[in-house]
């Protein structure tokens, strides 16, 4: 959906905060900061709830057969629009598909897009942010301006335009469609991660222990990987986790608008799109309800996890 930009101001702020706590707690190799965070996390019920939810969702994506033996591609028009009952607990949609089976199988596309985009933005954005923050000077300036250009596209708007140029057609291989969405979202979303990374590197860099390491003659890569990265990573991981949920939402929105994944791919966005429309919403609200709930819970789980991790890294807000 539209959340990444919305997160920006908040996350920038949060990044500064989480970065701040990282600065206060110099660690080599990241042990004590992360150990502290883990101790906090263990006591946070939100963390456990979101972890269990995420585990279930990932399981659904990997082996949907564990949850349902119904074929999600089998349609029987004669039973179309059957409300939820014992045999079809979520009901049957207007084309005769079992909604429960489709909802379970829909997890795969969402999880793949969310995970893929989060990982790629983390790698690309993290790398450029690290370079910009550490090197400074003209390289920093150039990288920032390039980031600004992509940042000028709101996530959903940019996604629409780029997917318009490289549209997926019904019947394209599943993995190709997914890869396309990951690529497009990564292109638009990396500058945000880069900014957060750069900000936290800048915050860590002047710390006494970095200066000390430099004075002791530590090499550039050693300073980056032993000292700066472990201390600057916190905010970026938080952003990546929260964004994972956001990307899942955006993918569903793009599919809802008919420009993301294409049928016959099974996806929550497509199913919700099929279910919306005033007439159908009134006649078969369960078509809309179940994929919506699953989608929302997935997004919720990742945002909650990100929140919990952020709180663990930054105890001030509690």
């Amino acid at each position: 959906m539209t959340d990444t930009e919305q997160l920006t101001a908040e996350t920038r702020d949060e990044a500064a905060r989480a970065g701040g706590s990282a600065v206060n707690t110099p660690v080599a190799g990241g042990r004590s900061l992360w150990a502290d965070a883990w101790r906090e996390l263990r006591h946070n019920p939100l963390f456990w709830i979101s972890a269990v939810l995420i585990l279930l969702i990932v399981l659904m994506a990997v082996v949907p057969q564990l949850f349902t033996s119904t074929d999600p591609t089998y349609a029987n028009l004669s039973t179309a629009r059957t409300p939820p009952n014992r045999a079809h607990i979520f009901g049957i949609d207007n084309q005769g598909y079992d909604i429960y089976a489709r909802t379970i199988h829909g997890a795969r596309a969402s999880v793949l897009v969310g995970l893929g985009t989060a990982v790629f933005t983390l790698i690309i954005g993290g790398f450029f942010g690290l370079v910009a923050g550490y090197a400074g000077g003209w390289l920093d300036a150039v990288l920032q301006r390039i980031g600004d250009i992509f940042f000028a596209f709101p996530l959903l708007l940019g996604g629409l335009v780029f997917l318009y140029t490289f549209p997926s057609n019904p019947g394209d291989p599943f993995i190709e469609m997914v890869a396309k969405i990951i690529l497009v979202l990564t292109i638009i979303a990396w500058p945000q991660t880069a900014r957060v990374m750069r900000a936290s590197v800048l915050q860590v860099k002047p710390s006494d222990y970095i200066q000390a390491a430099r004075a002791l003659g530590a090499s550039g890569p050693r300073i980056i990987f032993r000292h700066i990265l472990p201390n600057a990573l916190g905010p970026v991981i938080v952003i990546a986790t929260i964004n994972l949920g956001v990307f899942i939402g955006v993918e569903a929105t793009l599919s809802f608008l008919g420009i993301g994944l294409q049928p016959p791919t099974i996806s929550w966005g497509i199913d919700i799109s099929n279910a919306s429309g005033i007439g159908l919403v009134r006649a078969a609200p369960y078509m809309l309800l179940f994929p919506s709930i699953f989608l929302s819970i997935t997004v919720l789980a990742f945002i909650m996890l990100g929140d919990a991790v952020r709180d663990a890294l930054d105890p001030k807000l509690r």
């Binding site: 959906m1 539209t2 959340d3 990444t4 930009e5 919305q6 997160l7 920006t8 101001a9 908040e10 702020d13 949060e14 905060r17 301006r145 390039i146 600004d148 250009i149 992509f150 000028a152 596209f153 709101p154 996530l155 959903l156 708007l157 629409l160 335009v161 780029f162 318009y164 140029t165 490289f166 949920g245 939402g249 569903a252 929105t253 809802f256 608008l257 008919g258 420009i259 919700i272 799109s273 279910a275 919306s276 005033i278 919403v281 009134r282 609200p285 809309l288 919506s292 989608l295 929302s296 819970i297 997004v299 919720l300 945002i303 909650m304 929140d307 001030k316 807000l317």
Partner: protein, 306 residues
Amino acid sequence: MVSYTIRRILQMIPVLLGATFILFAAVFALGDPSAGRCGQRPCPPGYIAKFRAEYHLDQPLLVQYGYYLGKLFRGDLGTSFYGNPVAHELAIRYPTTIKLTVIAILCEVIIGVAAGVLAGIRKGRFLDNLVLISTLLVISIPVFVIGNLAQLVFGVKLEWFPPTAGQGSLYELLLPGFVLGALSVAYISRLTRNSVVENLRTDYVRTARAKGLSNARVISVHTLRNSLIPVVTFIGTDIGSLMGGAIVTERIFNVNGIGNFIFRSINQKDGQSVVGAVLILVVVYLVMNLIVDLLYGVLDPRISND
């Protein structure tokens, strides 16, 4: 302040050029600009040749872009699927979208700030948790789900609002506007809450208490003034997501605005309309960000005086 303003405007120019270039390259150079010009069929070769000549598509990419920029400066955004100038198509639709956006922003500011402040000053208590949980829910539910649900509940079942907003009257736009702003209401209340919590802990708020000021004044003047700085910044960046969200909201409620225009143009493969409309939105987004940045300088004297 003046030099800061000039610097920020100068910084915006390369971003604007880069963004338009990417848009142009994506749709015209990499894509097939004549796609959809001729309905569902491929265009006849003669038409394609004429089209390519008109947009200088046989020239190097940068030259094409130069011609395109020149057109842009003359206010020519191309021609839509229906043969109307894209600029004209946008001009008749933007008042509706602006109305929708203003309603959304008003919802955000009024509900979001109020909820955030109340949660912040009652940190850890019931109201705080209520706000935290409800905002988490709103953030997690995608706009198109919220939109469909709101339409079903308030439009169809309760009939409090018209379920669609074809005419674009203010009353019709209330529900879509609220839906559009709902997500940001959640973000703003969380942002305000965190900001208030943090500010309440600062030394200067302690000073304000030590000065013997009333609790109301400590919060409304000494805490809120500082807490709203990040909120204002947020609203600037939020404009971008509102525009994205408007595509979804306008589609669901059938609002005849720019968002719906983009949606329709995409489905009709009307490249010029898509680029034109998105371009305008990107420019508006950048300009709003610039304004907010400058406002930030006004709100936080530590910035403007550097």
